[in-house]
């Protein structure tokens, strides 16, 4: 069994390297979306006040709620915390404080420790799959839709103003997936191939992928 385990790990590692995926060993899929949104919009935010909502210390209430009345507002803050616990929190620290949130509004994508929390996973999406010259229109459409989100979700509407936007530092290292697509003709052709149904690129059926065809004799 240990031998099989290591074989599987080696296989996973090989596929990751082949595809140029970065840091794919442990991640939350929702954070791929979050990171991709942060990169696509060039917008992240200071989510520390959002995290503060989970702080149970005495001074948190007055800091977060105007006209704080512990007896009246304490249960309301508690109810809001429970709502967030069950609907918005993606990753937590060991003390229970959230590290990342679902991006119901783009402001919920944190600006701190991006490469640790989000593991740069959004780069593969934004620079690799959507970074082709022909994807400009698609990117614009996604940006427009995401920018609407804070008006489409009550939590986005309520909490986005708590998160102050911050400039995003640009990555200088190359994106592995982008490099892999550029260096591998067949992988590049597969990414470029329009889906027969939607006409979108990067969505060709899996059985047309170069990875699948190479596994055949």
């Amino acid at each position: 069994m240990p031998n099989q385990q290591s074989q599987i790990e080696n296989l996973t590692d090989s596929v990751q390297r082949r595809l140029g995926l970065q840091q794919a060993q442990t991640f939350s899929p929702e954070d791929i979306t979050g990171d991709a949104i942060g990169r696509l919009l060039g917008l992240r935010a200071d989510v520390s006040r959002l995290q503060r909502l989970f702080d149970r210390s005495v001074e948190a209430g007055p800091d977060l709620v105007a006209g704080w009345n512990r007896e009246e507002h304490g249960p309301v803050l508690h109810a809001l915390r429970r709502v967030l616990d069950t609907s918005m929190v993606v990753q937590r620290r060991s003390d229970g404080v959230p590290k990342s949130f679902l991006p119901f509004a783009p402001e919920f994508v944190g600006a701190d420790r991006v490469s640790t929390i989000y593991r740069d996973l959004g780069r593969s999406v934004v620079e690799g799959l959507w970074g082709r010259p022909c994807q400009a229109e698609l990117q614009t459409r996604i940006k427009n839709r995401v920018n609407e989100w804070r008006g489409r979700h009550p939590l986005g509407m309520l909490l986005a103003p708590l998160c102050e936007p911050r400039e995003q530092a640009q990555d200088r290292t190359p994106c592995h997936l982008k490099a892999a697509i550029e260096s591998d003709e067949s992988l590049g052709a597969w990414v470029e191939e329009p889906s027969p149904r939607t006409g979108m690129r990067g969505c060709a059926p899996p059985n047309r992928s170069p990875l699948m065809s190479r596994s055949r004799p």
């Binding site: 109810a79 709502v83 069950t86 609907s87 979700h153 509407m157 027969p196």
Partner: protein, 624 residues
Amino acid sequence: MSTNEAHPANHPFVEYLNSLRTQEHGANPSFVHENRKIFLEQLRATAAWFPSDDDLHVPTRLDGLASALTEGSVPCDLIFLTGDAGDGKTALCAAVAERLGCTDELQDVTEAGGWIIVKDASEVEPERLEALLAERLFGRGPKLLVAINEGRLRRIMRPQAEGSPGGMAAARPALWADVIEPALRAWTDEASARRLDERMRAERVMALNFRHRFHVPAVVPGLLNAWTRPRYWEDSPACRSCGAASRCPIAANAKSLGSPAVQENISEVLQSAHFSGQRLPFRRLQAVLALTVTAGLKCRDVQTGELANANALDLLRYRYYEALFRTDAGGPVPVTPEAINRFLAPADPGLASTPAFDREVGYAATPDKDGRTPVRLGETALPSLEEQAVRFIRESSRSAADPDMTGSMARLTQALRRWAGISDVSSAEPPEPWRKALRYLREYATGGDGRDLRLAVTAAINRYHFLAALNEQWIARRQIAPAGFRDPARLALELDLGVEFATSLSSGPVLPEFVRPWLESAASEIYFEARPATGALGREPARLHLNARLLETLLNTGSGFTYVGALGAYRMDLARFHSRLLALAHEAESDPKVLLRVGGKTYRASCEPGANGAPARLRFDGED
């Protein structure tokens, strides 16, 4: 006398029906058009009474198209037949070729009566297909009828890239955008159907998309009537000479399925699947109906095989209602169900408990003193096989011979529930929720005003939001937020949209008049729509796709089932619908508010920006 008539173990009609099943291994797959003719000729060679092609044929509107093409009364030079595998494209090509005078087997490319017929574009080299199309599109050569799957049609007709039209696009630049692409859309409204109609006539090109076909109501009774004629069964040489006829589930099924009420019930079960998004190409429909007749059995299974000495309860496993709803292959003779069977479970009467009915089954199965008490359920006498099964349980109970009496009783009860639900003794009042949902949708899809449907959905959405009074007219302004659909903790979050929403319905696909006469269709993609009751009437509404399963859940709110978790996967659809309501409320400048319900009180939550560089803070204002 032929060999088979001497040995009725091979009833040719049973063989034929089993060959229509897609999950039958070891039989000729005559559901594939090319295999059908020779197989039927073999059957006729051994049994002269075997029905002719005309006797087996179920007329549909496509027959009208074949005739019209032959008569030259369809004003077009190029026809694309597209759809799923098993939709009947090849069969239509063969029918047209025959009427145009082609007596030979259909080839990949067949020329007859001024038409070139390509029965399956996948079997023709791309270069040849392109050449045929190019000739036709440049107005040269015979007319062209092409059966082609959607992917290939898109590939061959779509312009290659911006600024460099491919061969087909060069011949007719507007054909892709004006005709082909709109014809392949899953949903078209009245306006786009009118445009498509104009363009098809102008280009003299028809794209007949079989995916828009809704043929269940026409085909189910047609096929079952064609298959259950007494001359193929109790009056046939094969059954007359069979010693097992009195206990044969196949013969019993053929008899039961001749009943118009049973046919109508089965049709409604399958229509419900259609209105749930499960399209039924002709092949799949035919396969599941063939399964209801034979239950996947062969004559030898009943005569000399595993069922020769099976008890009456085991024989019930092979009745038509079990064949329709069972999803397992178990039983003395394993039979693999059709893929569609799993999708029929929501309409399965065997899974719905009615205490009064179950009690009656219990009474009927109670051992009697002399073993001669007639077996009845209510006022209804049971058919022979069901009666035998009840007597078997009575006897088992009396002799204590069955170590699993509880299991046997449960099997009997489930089988009889299914029998009552599908046979003509069932006229549930009020109708079961799945049937009620189907009838609402069907009424609107076939041209009704949909008023009852709209009111029922509006009321259900309001009920999810704990609205005390019945409100069928408007979506109330106060709603649970979309996030409230996964966990009870989220139910604390509410939304005051600040405006009520007027509701309406829309349906599609609307077929262009050019193709409508040739396809049985119904606008069975139905959307529930909502717009702010005041202002913003011109904006895109919030839309909720209504299918039979979702509607059934919504209708159940009327019986008090208002827990949103019951929506299952449809929670996300409803969440998106509410998300759009919120966006529309913003656009209507109604100032929507987020509310938190804590204990018995409601707080309005908002966020106020900090002054002089101070951070933003929340506000919780209690509402009276």
